[in-house]
């Protein structure tokens, strides 16, 4: 695919993306639809958030989505990726985010969710993803995100978790998934939401800005290929650090627009690849952070529309642009 500046950029294909999302549920006679069932709840969140950012939330049947979400809750209080799938902290967050986006928190039994999340806490301040013991800074982020949406950050020992995240910080300013692990843009975005006071903003901002490649796209680690999803992870972190202007916005917008599929709608990881709803939501959210017109402003902490998170009580993170009074 051409990326010369001579060609005019493709416009944002809003209607086609809506059609792409609505078409996702119409492939139920195919194996591939069911082979991804384990992350259906995430799929619903990505579809709903994409639609919401495009001001088309009403396209999904609210009542059906709510009933589906509730049917994924297990006895332990956590949510599985679909009905009859085991609980995991990641799907638990997705469930809460969906209910919040649909303004249906009154239907959610929050105390059971909180009990589940508390049961994932480990002695060193980290969290396991489920009862089988995987530990990752992603799960610290999920916990803080989820409890802040529920207004219950008091349910865990936040300073201890912050201490754990600090132990995952590297010399380049970024954060890894465990102490000693290589910095990764995704982990970094997640880590700083929980522990902004730890950050050396200029050093980290430099490392993040260096993720941009000549074609405008961003990568997740040094000397790796660009991918639309890092338009979200890198950009959300830069936005929290108030350093979005450290990258070339126009060339990134162009890269995201070129990654759209003009035949089917949807956005791919990079131009010319198959589109999917994961890259669609992070592409659209990235465009929103970049100030692309016609989209809802997005909250870089949650990847949810600001009109939703503006209703939340303030928590420890404060930065320019968001919650600024």
């Amino acid at each position: 695919m051409s990326s010369t500046s001579a060609t005019s950029p493709q416009p944002f294909l809003l209607d086609l993306h809506v059609q792409f999302i609505l078409g996702l549920d119409k492939k139920q006679d195919e194996f591939e639809y069911w082979a991804s069932e384990q992350l259906r709840l995430n799929g619903v969140l990505w579809a709903l958030t994409s639609l919401d950012l495009m001001n088309r939330k009403a396209e999904l049947k609210r009542q059906d989505v709510i009933e589906f979400v509730l049917s994924c809750q297990n006895e332990d209080g956590g949510f599985g990726g679909s009905v009859e799938h085991d609980s995991h902290i990641a799907y638990t967050l997705s469930a809460v985010q969906i209910m919040m986006t649909l303004d249906a928190m009154d239907r959610l039994d929050a105390s059971r969710v909180i009990t589940y999340i508390q049961s994932r806490a480990l002695a060193d301040g980290s969290f396991s993803g489920d009862e089988w013991g995987e530990v990752d800074t992603r799960f610290c982020y999920i916990t803080i995100n989820c409890l802040s949406l529920l207004g219950r950050l008091d349910a865990i020992d936040v300073p201890k978790t912050v201490q754990y995240i600090d132990a995952c910080r590297n010399f380049d300013g970024g954060f890894g998934c465990r102490p000693g692990a290589e910095s990764h843009a995704g982990q970094t975005a997640l880590a700083i939401v929980g522990a902004l006071e730890l950050v050396e903003a200029d050093k980290l901002g430099w490392w993040l800005a260096e993720r941009q490649l000549k074609n405008g796209g961003l990568n997740g680690r040094p000397e790796k290929l660009e991918d639309v999803c890092y338009s979200w992870w890198v950009m959300s972190a830069l936005s929290i650090l108030d350093r979005v202007h450290w990258i070339n916005k126009d060339s990134l917008i162009k890269f995201i627009l070129e990654s759209q599929d003009p035949e089917t709608g949807g956005i791919a990881d990079r131009p010319g690849d198959y589109p999917d709803v994961f890259h669609l939501v992070f592409g659209v959210a990235g465009l929103s952070l970049l100030g692309y017109p016609g989209l809802q402003p997005v909250d870089p902490r949650y990847c949810m529309s600001r009109y939703i998170t503006d209703k939340l009580p303030k928590f420890n993170v404060d930065w320019k642009g968001v919650n600024k009074e």
Partner: protein, 272 residues
């Protein structure tokens, strides 16, 4: 909803090809759904028998990301453990590692499969660390940047004590000499260097050599970020050594003249 896809080039297909693909998919789905309903009944009845175990094997071969099946499998393994002698249980765990080998061949970045490996090692009578190190060598040969592989390597080394920090330092030398761009190896090097060389005099000597290695890397691939980032870390180890700082600055200035587009501009601005 489709799963997230990475690096799959879109190919033009004819209507006939699409229809044939659709028919195959529909047939495969019938088998898959049949297995799902059988296993669902077993899970609800908490039946941890051989039939249940074999169902998880089949389902995971069709869909290795079906994490609830890995969980159910581990429940069955825990149940079997109570009825097996140590030798038989050890053999069962080894066969689980083989199953995970096969799953990683299909998807080397599956969190669920790496997690299953770790759980097996932590729950087997005699953890097969040597086997794991061999596998890890192969994984990082296939993809030298696989962060699951590097993370798992750190886990295996820490849990087993099978290799010293110095040996791991030498391992990163090997990886970096294969490819200067391997930032994962540079990163790991920064972690093992301080463990491997605790004695101040010895460390000072090593750091000298490191600056030389970085210089070689930078002159070989000036546009590559890996060595620049590592150089920045090295300089942070010698904050008071003004000779070193001016020497590095000189070297950078030389390079700017030869390679005006290289990353060193940033370093000069950053440190200057």
């Amino acid at each position: 909803m489709s799963a997230d896809q990475h690096h799959q080039k879109k190919v033009k297909t004819t209507n006939e090809e699409r229809e044939a693909q659709r028919q195959r998919s529909i047939k495969k789905l019938a088998e898959y759904k049949g297995l799902c309903s059988l296993v669902s009944a077993k899970r609800k009845a908490k039946e941890y028998d051989d039939a249940a175990f074999n169902l998880t094997t089949k389902l995971l071969s069709l869909n290795p990301e079906f994490y609830t099946m890995w969980n159910f499998r581990r429940q069955i393994i825990l149940d079997r453990r109570t009825r097996m002698d140590t030798e038989a249980y050890q053999a069962l765990c080894l066969s689980e590692l083989q199953l995970a080998d096969a799953a990683l061949k299909i998807n080397p970045k599956s969190y669920w499969v790496w997690n299953h490996r770790r759980w097996i090692l932590e729950n087997m009578p005699e953890a097969a660390w040597t086997r794991e190190l061999k596998l890890l060598g192969r994984m990082l040969d296939m993809d030298a940047r696989n962060f699951h592989g590097w993370g798992y390597r750190r886990y295996v080394i820490a849990a087993s004590g099978a290799r010293s920090p110095k040996e791991e330092f030498d391992f990163t030398t090997e990886k970096i000499s294969q490819n200067f761009s391997n930032y994962s190896a540079w990163h790991y090097r920064s972690k093992v260097l301080v463990q491997a060389f605790a004695d101040p005099a010895e460390r000072a000597k090593v750091i000298d050599n490191e600056f030389e290695l970085v210089r070689n890397a930078i002159y070989t691939e000036p546009a590559d970020q890996s060595a620049w980032l590592y150089q920045r870390w090295l300089l942070s180890l010698v904050p008071q050594d003004m000779d070193r700082w001016s020497k590095e600055l000189e070297s950078v200035q030389e390079l700017v003249e030869i390679e005006p587009e290289s990353k060193c501009k940033v370093i000069m601005q950053g440190q200057g």
